[in-house]
């Protein structure tokens, strides 16, 4: 088995759609450092510093992977700090426990930091006010903070934060400072331009792959063709004849070539002759895993949750429906392949990593190299996409091992082929659904049995209890009022490394559930929108987004022949989402997606433009999977290798996307993943409306 790091801190929670919730929180004592530690720089907590020139630096402790945290997290601090937004600077934090959890996953960056980061800004503001008040010999209540200045309300005098920084740093840090009311927000809720955009488009931004350190060599790794395989022997004589190749070393995951350029390392890798021990799984294939899933699906599975009496026989003229749904393995394939710069020397390791999980990288490298954690420094770079792949620390551990073995600093670069073939895959799944409609057209029974490999169980290395079944996340039929519901699950083992893939199981179960609800609506001879609406209570947030999406899509407006609309709902990560897809059938095998309408309720909104961008991006990501995504296991390894055989959505295939955000003051919800779930069922329901063909297997094939 490929070495995996564990995300022990992830706990699987409520199956009704809470998503993977990080159990971490930021304890007050960890954000509030002792005052007066750095007299020239006022840094009342881990998240901000103000120097005596008035430069405000906000520290970002979550990873920027495109979702905009280098802008949205500083917005939280700046809102309470009362600082001129255009004057702030940001700094990406190294791995450090003082920040609480730095794991960027589960759509938690804003949700978990909405209050702590505002509290960090507010505490600093109160200290600056107190310092000014002391200077002026007035009460703090006679002062206010605005735009980087403290103003004396009695006489209008003002002092800049820079001039107060030194005095403020000697004051005690106030606890429980009152935070602003949302109605007083000046920054939160506004469309703020991203701070990271200019450098990225000018080609100046530094992703992990762009880092260069003095004396650095370049490395590439050849890994076993079968998951779980190992190196028996290798022969690097041909490799060493190549220009620029320094040496080849064995590491835990394979054989590394060290050279003076990426190209020489890549070529050197091709020339390596490795004798592999393929281990136990060389005969494994997708088909074998599928037959295991089917076998389990034909059993009853473990009961996970039940309501009413789904087992009771239903007689009174009810209509019944059964359907099976299926989705394949998927790879993340972020545009920036895995890479890492490492310098291991004198019992210390320093790494530059595009990671979603810096603290885990620190821990895993310390373990692997036998170092103390405090001797492992992790600098977090920009991430050229993450999508869950960069929660894993395998590539950082590899780079550290190579640097240690070769005794030089190295930049390890994975080829795209390495990325597609050596990932942590979104598991496949199969779903059997049963439903019954009574003579009045009401849905009276809904059963869902999901059969899939469990990420949680694979990582925990143990059998898990039905209540822990991650495979059933978002498998319950939302909040629909259905009198009899049963959810069961069956776990299937696989040797293929599994990983969290943007929204994880919420890209699987909702496809089955919301497609089947649609099928049941047709069986009940009801409009699919109305059918859903009448099963949701009036004050339900889900019902409100459903109505919003239907309204914005002109749901009742007739489309021309060959076109169709489909609707689907999802709930997760503290947010609610409804999507309407519109498709046109072009020929027997061809269709075009004309547009997607998405209504989202994510509670209080930090940066509305980023919310829209995340939804647009999630729809593209979900469509790549729904239309094309499939990883095939052959001879124990992955058959695909690059974007030619693992294609993703292209420019032309991207539909128009309209996003409508519900305005309310519910608690902040996540937005990075919630857009994923409703997309495939909305698409497939639209295909049915247009072509009369039910799609129960992804990727979509019309014929």
């Amino acid at each position: 088995m490929k070495k995996q790091s564990r995300r022990e801190f992830i706990k699987v929670v409520s199956l009704s759609g809470g998503g993977l919730v990080l159990a971490a929180f930021i304890p007050a004592e960890s954000i509030f450092a002792k005052p007066g530690e750095e007299p020239k720089i006022f840094s009342p907590n881990a998240f901000l510093k103000i120097d005596s020139n008035g430069v405000v630096t906000i520290i970002v402790h979550r990873s920027e992977m495109g979702q905009g945290v280098q802008t949205s997290l500083p917005m939280l601090v700046a809102e309470e700090l009362e600082v001129d937004w255009t004057q702030i600077k940001i700094e990406q934090a190294d791995a450090d426990r003082k920040y609480g959890s730095q794991t960027t996953g589960g759509s938690t960056s804003i949700r978990r930091n909405y209050e702590p980061l505002r509290a960090a800004g507010a505490a600093a503001r109160e200290m600056l006010i107190a310092a000014a008040a002391a200077k002026w010999k007035v009460q703090p209540a006679d002062c206010k903070a605005e735009n980087g200045f403290v103003i004396n309300k009695l006489n209008g005098k003002k002092i800049g934060y820079g001039k107060l920084a030194d005095d403020a740093s000697k004051l005690p840090v106030p606890q429980n400072v009152k935070l602003k009311e949302p109605k007083d927000f000046k920054i939160i809720g506004k469309k703020i331009h991203r701070l990271d955009t200019p450098d990225k488009i000018y080609g100046k931004a530094k992703f992990g792959i762009d880092i260069v350190i003095p004396g650095m060599y370049y490395a590439a790794v050849k890994r076993p063709p079968v998951f779980g395989g190992m190196v028996k022997n290798f022969d690097a004589s041909k490799t060493k004849l190549l220009n620029g190749v320094k040496e080849a070393v064995k590491i835990s995951s394979g054989v590394a070539v060290i050279a003076n350029s990426t190209w020489a390392a890549f070529k050197g890798k091709e020339e390596l002759l490795v004798d592999w021990d393929n281990g136990l799984y060389a005969n494994f294939s997708s088909e074998k895993i599928k037959s295991k899933m089917i076998e389990k699906l034909n059993g009853t599975g473990e009961e996970i949750r039940k309501e009413g009496n789904p087992e009771l026989p239903i007689t009174n003229n009810a209509q019944f429906l059964e359907a099976t749904f299926e989705v394949p393995f998927l790879a993340h394939a972020p545009m920036e392949p895995m890479n890492c710069v490492a310098n291991v020397k004198d019992g210390k390791a320093e790494l530059w990593v595009a990671t979603q999980n810096p603290q885990a990288a620190q821990r895993d490298i310390a373990r692997q190299l036998g170092l103390k954690e405090e001797n492992v420094t992790i600098h977090v770079t920009l991430l050229g996409g993450g999508f869950g792949r960069r929660l894993q620390t395998d590539f950082a551990v590899e780079a550290a091992e190579i640097s240690k073995a070769a005794g030089v600093p190295v930049k390890l670069t994975w080829s795209r082929e390495d990325d597609i073939k050596h990932g942590f895959y979104r598991p496949p799944s199969m779903h059997k659904l049963n439903g019954a409609i009574d003579s009045d057209g009401n849905l009276i029974k809904f059963e869902h049995h999901v059969s899939a490999p469990s990420i949680f169980s694979q990582r925990a290395g143990r059998k898990i209890e039905p209540k822990e079944y991650d495979i059933a996340e978002a498998a319950w039929p939302l909040e629909y009022k259905i009198p009899n519901i049963k959810l069961s699950g069956s776990l299937v083992d696989t040797h293929v490394p599994l990983g969290y893939w943007r929204a994880v199981y919420q890209t699987q179960n909702p496809f089955a559930v919301e497609s089947f609800i649609d099928e049941l609506a047709y069986l009940a001879k009801k409009d699919p929108f109305e059918f859903r609406r009448t099963m949701l209570t009036e004050d339900s947030r889900l019902r409100k987004v459903l109505e919003l999406a239907a309204e914005k899509s002109d749901w009742y407006k007739k489309l021309e022949a060959g076109k169709g609309r489909g609707i689907a709902l999802s709930e997760g990560f503290g947010s609610f989402c409804a999507q309407v897809a519109e498709v046109s059938i072009k020929s027997q095998n061809e269709f075009k997606i004309d547009r997607f309408i998405c209504a989202i309720d994510c509670g209080i909104v930090i940066n509305p433009d980023t919310v829209e961008a995340q939804i647009e991006g999630a729809i593209a990501f979900a469509l790549s999977a729904a239309l094309k995504g499939e990883i095939t296991i052959k001879n124990g390894g992955v058959a695909e290798s690059n974007f030619d055989d693992y294609p993703i959505l292209t420019f032309e295939e991207m539909p128009k996307v309209e996003v409508y955000i519900a305005q309310n003051s519910f608690p902040v919800g996540g937005v990075g993943e919630v857009g994923m779930a409703a997309c495939p069922p909305a698409l497939c329901n639209a295909i049915f409306a247009a072509a009369g063909k039910r799609i129960r297997k992804l990727p979509v094939k019309l014929n």
């Binding site: 495109g66 190209w263 545009m335």
Partner: protein
């Protein structure tokens, strides 16, 4: 190894590499121009697009020996004019997400608009289809292209 001289962003540069080294790696590793990205190495994704004698080309699929004496512009070269309408529109519409594919998107579009002030929808699609974006910024690229073509 051999010495190759190319003109990059208006300056003559010499690199000492094997002749089969893709231009991409010569730019990135030898010249430190890391704005040009590696995405697939096979000419599929467009992350590595640069201009060679004003035409958009995939630098992962062209050897250094084949570009000797030619004039190459990278994203860093284009960004010497940060007021280029593409950059302004990109910021305006907040196109970028992770940003990794963006230099390739921008270089590809810049070459197209250079060649043709008002390319057709089909020409735009055929050109931009060759640059992949995993974050799904296509929707905004679309809007940005429409705006640029209209203003051109």
């Amino acid at each position: 190894m051999a010495k190759f001289t190319i003109t990059v962003n208006g300056k003559k540069k010499t690199v000492d590499v094997d002749g089969d080294t893709p231009l991409l790696w010569a730019l990135r590793d030898s010249l430190g121009l890391t704005g040009t990205k590696y995405g697939c190495g096979e000419g599929i994704c467009g992350a590595c697009v640069v201009h060679i004698n004003k035409k958009a080309e995939r630098s992962c699929s062209i050897s250094i020996k084949d570009v000797e004496g030619k004039s190459i512009t990278t994203i860093e070269g284009l960004a010497e004019n940060p007021n280029h309408p593409i950059f302004k529109t990109w910021i305006d519409l907040e196109v970028s997400q992770c940003g990794y594919c963006q230099p390739g998107q921008i270089m590809t579009l810049a070459a197209l608009l250079n060649e043709k002030k008002k390319p057709s929808k089909k020409e735009i699609e055929e050109t931009m289809n060759g640059v992949l974006c995993r974050c799904g910024t296509y929707h905004r690229i679309h809007k940005a292209v429409d705006k640029l073509v209209e203003e051109n």
